[in-house]
């Protein structure tokens, strides 16, 4: 079964001033193998990958490629040696054609031979089963196809090793399947693939081997088939198995008869959700379930006036409230953690401190700035409370890991002490450990009387946390589940039958 080794990294160490990112890590990749590289945030996955593709220089250790020691001085070096990388964010030009994107920056001739280029691209796309035409504009392809084209581009540069850094994070299930098909095709051609993802199911679906890193050290290499999911998680987190399974949600005792904390009637917004009703009670955690594009995010955005509200009325604790802008919503005690952390959550260049105090500061008003000392106190308090890992409170938030960024945004809203907190995909793209922490936090907050709406694309996560699920399909609510009815099966059924 085990075939020839093409890459061997031995005793790799790398330090950044003040931080030891990798310590004596070994890694082995075989021909035609899909090798998942797993670890929490800060485990050293990215550093290892960046040493392999020439972005960083290693402090110690050896890289042996096809039996020969190699030394990369630049990403170009690594590429020339047959190591291709496709990052999470697609680094192509959306306004150029598919063929342009395949060949951009590679042609050595001053004159581009269009016809030849298009023919070669067509051949390539065909052989890999990528559904795109060479002359099509890249932006007109789906994200998955774009991702595949990025891969095709990497593969076409005669690559022996392909690194895929979270290629599926912005793809839906169907698109992921297509991507996996492509990965299998490449595997059959003998390409060694290093695969990084936060989705554990994907690891089990596609990978042959798993290497786990933790805190910059190698935990071990395992055959996927021989390692159970729960074992994997505990190895990544460094915790005993019982800890992981220990989340217990607290069942809601209140009846619907009490005055809801937040109630909306016939609400709709420019984002295009059909008018709908919604209520949430004190201490309740509910969720919106549905496929991507079902309107679950658009619905909760309307509560916060994140999109322009076009109809409906809102009552806060039974009293009519006008919510026209996010600020109105904030003043009514509503907080909203948006789905797209990078585009709508973090203020990348600003410090962790400024990011934490932002919402509170805005609520206090333009002419009432917090003193520097106050701001620092608040920031430090929440950094400690949520265990945010940051070199200092002055560090720009963009240099934190995804999970820590998300915690900062959470801290931002917790600091405003909202009555009702909306969390749209707070666990996306972050490691298992932080996911569990956030789930625990949600339940803790609810226990203290806060109402929360929690949305996640991982249904089991919602089942674990929410006492009530509102199921959506095609921008309409198709039903509601609670209590004993709250099972994955029922949700699927409802989506399948509804609408």
């Amino acid at each position: 079964m085990r075939s020839e080794i093409i890459l061997r990294m031995e005793g790799i160490s790398k330090s950044f001033p003040g931080v030891r990112a990798l310590h004596n890590v070994d890694f082995v990749l075989r021909r035609g193998e899909i090798h998942a590289l797993m670890g929490e945030n800060g485990a050293g996955k990215s550093t290892l990958i960046k040493i392999l593709n020439g972005v960083y220089e290693k402090d110690a250790g050896r890289i042996i490629l096809e039996g020969r020691p190699v030394h990369f001085k630049s990403p170009q070096d690594a590429q020339n040696m047959g190591i291709g990388t496709v990052f999470q964010e697609i680094a192509l030009c959306p306004n150029l054609t598919v063929a342009d994107n395949m060949f951009i920056g590679r042609s050595r001739d001053a004159v581009v031979r269009w016809k030849q280029m298009n023919e070669k691209t067509a051949e390539m796309l065909n052989s890999l089963g990528i559904p795109a035409s060479p002359t099509q504009e890249l932006a007109s392809c789906s994200l998955a196809v774009q991702q595949m084209i990025a891969i095709a581009r990497a593969v076409d540069m005669d690559c022996k090793i392909l690194i895929l850094d979270e290629p599926t994070s912005s793809l839906d299930e169907d698109e992921t399947k297509k991507l996996f098909a492509l990965m299998r095709e490449l595997k059959s051609r003998g390409v060694g693939i290093i695969f990084i993802t936060h989705f554990i199911d994907e690891v089990y679906e596609i990978s042959d081997t798993i290497t786990v890193l933790r805190n910059g050290e190698l935990i071990g290499e395992y055959e996927t088939a021989a390692l159970s999911q729960i074992e994997l998680i505990s190895k990544m987190m460094g915790k005993a198995l019982s800890d992981v399974a220990a989340i217990k949600k607290h069942e809601l005792s209140q009846s619907d008869a009490s005055v809801p904390v937040f109630a909306a009637k016939d609400l709709s917004s420019t984002a295009g959700v059909r008018p709908f009703d919604f209520t949430i009670h004190e201490g309740e955690v509910n969720g919106f379930a549905g496929l991507l594009g079902s309107g679950r995010s658009e619905s909760v955005r309307a509560f916060f006036a994140a999109d322009k509200v076009t109809s409906g009325e809102v009552k806060i604790k039974g009293k009519r409230a006008k919510i026209r802008t996010p600020l109105d919503a904030m003043k009514q005690g509503i907080g909203y953690l948006p789905e797209d952390r990078k585009a709508e959550g973090i203020i990348g260049e600003l410090s962790v401190r400024d990011n934490i105090i932002l919402a509170l500061q805005v609520m206090k008003g333009f002419f009432k700035p917090l003193s520097r000392k106050q701001a620092e106190e608040f920031a430090n308090q929440y950094i400690q409370l949520l265990g945010i890992k940051t070199p200092s409170i002055d560090t720009p938030i963009k240099s934190l890991s995804g999970g820590n960024q998300q915690k900062v945004i959470l801290a931002r809203w917790l600091l405003t002490h909202p009555m009702y907190l909306i969390l749209d995909e707070p666990t996306r793209g972050i490691d298992v450990g932080t996911k569990v922490e956030i789930q625990k936090l949600i339940l803790k907050l609810a226990e203290d009387g806060m109402s929360l709406t929690f949305i996640s694309s991982e249904i089991d996560e919602m089942l674990r946390v929410c006492s009530r699920l509102i199921v959506m399909k095609d921008r309409e609510i198709v039903g509601e589940l609670r209590g004993a009815n709250l099972t994955e099966q029922n949700v699927m059924h409802m989506i399948a039958q509804g609408g």
């Binding site: 945030n41 990052f87 948006p338 709508e344 959550g345 500061q361 560090t395």
Partner: protein
């Protein structure tokens, strides 16, 4: 020790703008050791330094407004000279039509010109924030047409402002040893500092400049903030126009503050600010403005041939911008660290926070693990 470190981190972004200025001052010092000599002339300080502070007054004030506009709107206002010409034309007309000129006439005229500046700012700001016009395009309108408007307000001539109070504003007040424009610049800077201290202007502007969508979802109205920065820019233009016209003693609508936006944008860039908006440093821009003034005077001091002066300025600016660029900045930090590690073994610890910032800066793709 740790307090010192915090201080250093907070001001470290000024290290390069300052070093650029210091390099220029050193060149001047090499040319003649009496560079910093200050004497008293008619009871007023006189010398190269007072001359620099005097000459850069308008540019300093404009670069403050330009910093804010750049940070929030992620673009530049190229109509600041024209805006200053229009608002100061209104000031001059008010004073000339007021009959007897007292300090109150001047003050009223000044306030009127500030209102005019704000109206101009509101016009530009409306185009940029509510109609989403690119700042440079929006302000191009007044850049092209502003001087004709000022010319018409002037009554198609260059009116003379030959009254003693204007003269004192443009030169010095008897008994005060510092020239009035220098004092007014300091007052303006202090006012701006107070505004930054007592409001959330910085946080709002930076949030809007970095990520307007996120700012909006945190209750900030990005349009209002962008609009506000243009209003402030308008006031800055009016103040600069006021200083310029009182210095000149007459209103020359054609040449007053002409092409000063180039220097103001350059000052913002030299101050280590990104022209693409986001985080900003007004202190940096002020240093940048003085640097440009020193540069202009350095070229004169080196007795560069008038024909070659523009070329020399261009070369100097390229060198200064390279010195102030993030690449060189990161490189300088690395060198500094290496030097430190050689001197003391465990210094890595002390500069940890700083170095991480450098790491994240040199490799921004390293942020997502």
């Amino acid at each position: 020790m740790s307090l010192l470190k915090v201080r250093f981190n907070r001001w470290s972004h000024l290290f390069l703008p300052l070093s650029v200025l210091v390099i220029l001052l050193l060149i001047n010092l090499i040319k003649g050791v009496d560079y910093f000599k200050i004497t008293m002339v008619n009871g007023v300080f006189y010398g190269n330094i007072p001359n620099i502070l005097f000459g850069a007054a308008e540019l300093v004030i404009l670069s403050i407004g330009m910093t804010l506009v750049t940070a929030a709107a992620c673009g530049q206002d190229i109509s600041i000279g024209e805006s200053g010409a229009i608002s100061s034309a209104i000031f001059v007309q008010y004073v000339l039509n007021a009959g007897e000129v007292t300090i109150w006439t001047i003050l009223a005229g000044f306030l009127l010109s500030c209102v005019a500046g704000m109206l101009i700012g509101a016009f530009n700001g409306t185009l940029v924030s509510y109609f989403n016009v690119q700042p440079m395009v929006a302000t191009l309108i007044l850049f092209l047409g502003g001087r004709s408007i000022a010319f018409i307000i002037d009554g198609k001539v260059s009116p003379i402002l030959a009254n003693p109070i204007s003269n004192q504003i443009g030169t010095f007040i008897p008994g005060v040893p510092i020239q009035t424009p220098i004092i007014l610049t300091v007052v303006f800077i202090v006012l701006v500092a107070v505004v930054l201290k007592t409001t959330n202007l910085r946080l709002y502007v930076e949030a809007v400049g970095v990520n307007p969508s996120a700012a909006r979802l945190n209750g900030i109205n990005p349009k209002k903030i962008i609009f506000l920065t243009f209003l402030i820019m308008g006031v800055c233009s009016a103040v600069a126009g006021f200083l310029a016209v009182n210095k000149a003693g007459r209103h020359d609508s054609v040449n007053l503050l002409k092409f000063i936006m180039m220097d103001a944008i350059l000052a913002v860039a030299l101050g280590g600010n990104s022209l693409a908006g986001g985080k900003f440093s007004i202190t940096g821009s002020i240093i940048g403005a003085y640097t440009i003034e020193v540069l202009n005077r350095t070229l004169l001091r080196l007795e560069v041939n008038p024909e070659a002066i523009k070329a020399f300025k261009a070369v100097f600016i390229i060198i200064l911008m390279v010195i102030a660029s993030p690449v060189v900045r990161a490189f300088a930090r690395k060198l500094l660290d290496k030097a430190k590690t050689i001197v003391t073994g465990d210094s890595v610890r002390q500069t940890g926070a700083l170095d991480e910032a450098v790491v994240s800066m040199t490799d921004s793709s390293g942020k997502e693990e």
